[in-house]
Amino acid sequence: MSPILVLVDHHDGAVRKSTTELLTIARRLGDPVAVVIGHGTDVALPTLSAFGATSVVTVDAPDIDDYLIVPRSEALAAAIEKVQPSAVLLTSNAKTKEIAAHLAVKLESGIITDAVDVQPGPDGPITTQSVFAGNYAVQATVTKGTPIITIKPNATTPEEAPATPSQETIEVTFSERARAVKVTDHAPRERTGRPDLNEAAVVVSGGRGTGGDFSPVEHLADALGAAVGASRAAVDSGWYPHAFQIGQTGHVVSPQLYVAAGISGAIQHRAGMQTAKTIVAVNKDGEAPILQLADFSVVGDLFTVLPQATEEIKRRQG
């Protein structure tokens, strides 16, 4: 079977959930080869092995953390040169899409972004994308070069497939041009303790109806082990940080369950969540557009409905 390169999304070796999804998808297409750029392979190895990596390639350079994008695309190109994969899979986020974009030009290869599914096909991997606010499902393939595919989180349920990967390390030196953009400061965001919004299986969001008080939303999220999201109205009013905004110009999420509390459901919000598997809405207004999308709605005050739901969940959990 041919090698399928997976770029590992990690922080100092802590592997993000979306990478385990990529490895699961890679196994459908060929033999997963995990590429770790930078330090942390020792920390990442157990997870990569558990999810089926047949080989782990580490690409390192002493100054890798001083740079953001182009050096990483050069590092990935070096790994591709070595491994000669039949496809390259990356998770979809702003940084990886930039890396993928540079790579596509460098390698003269076609690129497909934001796939929600990838299946093997006779002429290479067939991707499915959800476009125009989820109104259309599009299938496509890359027809030139080594397919570069970025995949949205929650594209599949990760499946363990324990393997004992071989390991190798490639050293690179970056080109002059790659080193033009420098990172002068790096401040990791405070972890909230909740799952990452892009990867979470469950998201509970609050909107204008919260009036600025997100505590019922947060308590329900915690009872469900969910991430918290916010509508643009809530963010623009300063009630919740922009990092949690769901919508066309915020995060576009596709969780198993999306709970919209006090959110009317304007088009640009819907664009951010309407491919969720199950949607629940809580709103005082029985005419709110969000109800059209929801699999279950409660017309009522979120300040009574959410706390009651949170209590009931805790009761059932014992």
């Binding site: 922080h11 953001l68 994008i69 182009v70 986020n93 702003a94 940084k95 899409k97 930039e98 974009a101 596509a104 030009v105 003269e108 076609g110 972004t113 934001d114 989820g134 109104n135 259309y136 499902a137 599009v138 496509a140 393939t141 890359v142 027809t143 030139k144 041009r177 033009a180 953009v181 420098k182 990172v183 002068t184 400061d185 892009n198 469900l224 066309q248 110009t249 198993q256 369950l257 088009i267 664009a271 309407q274 629940v280 809580v282 999308l293 929801a294 699999d295 279950f296 709605s297 409660v298 017309v299 009522g300 409905v305 959410l306 009651q308 739901a309 009931e312 969940i313 059932r316 959990q317």
Partner: protein, 260 residues
């Protein structure tokens, strides 16, 4: 300082967006179109730089004839001139071909200090073209910036990523991408609307850029769409009124779906 702002004419998300029967390309002609909302932030940021110092702003777009509307909107916001690449051979181009044409257009424009862009188009939503343009031109690309400072031949900005906030710096000329958090785009004033009518807009074809039609368009694309399926609209499920038990009913539903 010379700034070129990349703009795209896109179908309006509020109207029905669709594909052309037979070739699976986005219908850009039979629909309501406008300047992509995320590009307005790039135009606005260029305007702020212009108003703070001495700069000219040229708007560059690649699109069918109606794309002139996108150029016009940017001129109304205060850009000084427009360049519109129109050629039937562009129909069905992928991001790689679009970036090639933009790079050639920038080479023809000649001197520029910054190429500014929004974080993604609101139709394709790939967010890859500015990085590809930088790669082709061999210049720096700094994207996803929440603020921009230009001084002494360098551009500095703050990237608000999901996992971290980073400050980056790059030498000019550079491609600079901005997010929708960076500013509040202005509405064109009446004066701006009237002034736009007199601003120069050049229209170039592929031949003017020295690009062969064989390198662009549907048949040259490095990806191929095999199927487009309209998803049935989500129909709403059960709606209950809260009569003191709304929360409990909600949990019953979640339990039935095994979320609890």
């Amino acid at each position: 300082m010379k700034i070129v702002v990349l703009c795209k004419y896109v179908p309006n998300a509020i109207s029905e967006r669709k594909f052309v029967d037979g070739d699976f390309t986005t219908d850009r002609v039979g629909v309501d179109g406008l300047l992509s909302e995320l590009d307005e932030y790039a135009v606005e940021e260029a305007m702020k730089i212009k108003e703070a110092g001495d700069a000219t702003i040229t708007v560059l777009t690649v699109g069918p004839p109606p794309a002139a509307d996108a150029v016009r909107k940017a001129l109304q916001m205060g850009a000084d001139a427009g360049v519109h690449i129109v050629d039937d051979a562009m129909h069905g181009s992928d991001a790689l071909a679009t970036s090639l044409v933009i790079a050639k257009a920038l080479e023809k424009i000649g001197e520029y200090d910054m190429v500014m862009a929004g974080m993604a188009s609101t139709d394709g939503e790939m967010g890859v073209v500015p990085a590809m343009v930088a790669e082709r031109l061999g210049i720096a690309h700094v994207g996803y910036l929440g603020n921009v400072e230009v001084a002494d031949g360098t551009v500095k900005g703050r990237r608000d990523g999901d996992a971290a906030v980073e400050h980056v710096t790059a030498p000019l000329p550079a491609v600079v991408g901005v997010t929708d958090q960076i500013n509040d785009p202005r509405y064109p004033s009446f004066k701006g609307i009237m002034a736009a009518k007199k601003k120069p807009v050049e229209t170039w074809s592929l031949a003017d850029l020295g690009v062969s039609p064989e390198d662009v368009g549907l048949s040259a694309a490095w990806t191929s769409v095999s199927q487009v399926e309209k998803r049935p609209p989500r129909s709403h499920g059960e709606v209950v009124a809260d009569e003191g038990d709304g929360g409990a009913k909600l949990v019953e539903f979640l339990a039935s779906k095994k979320f609890v």
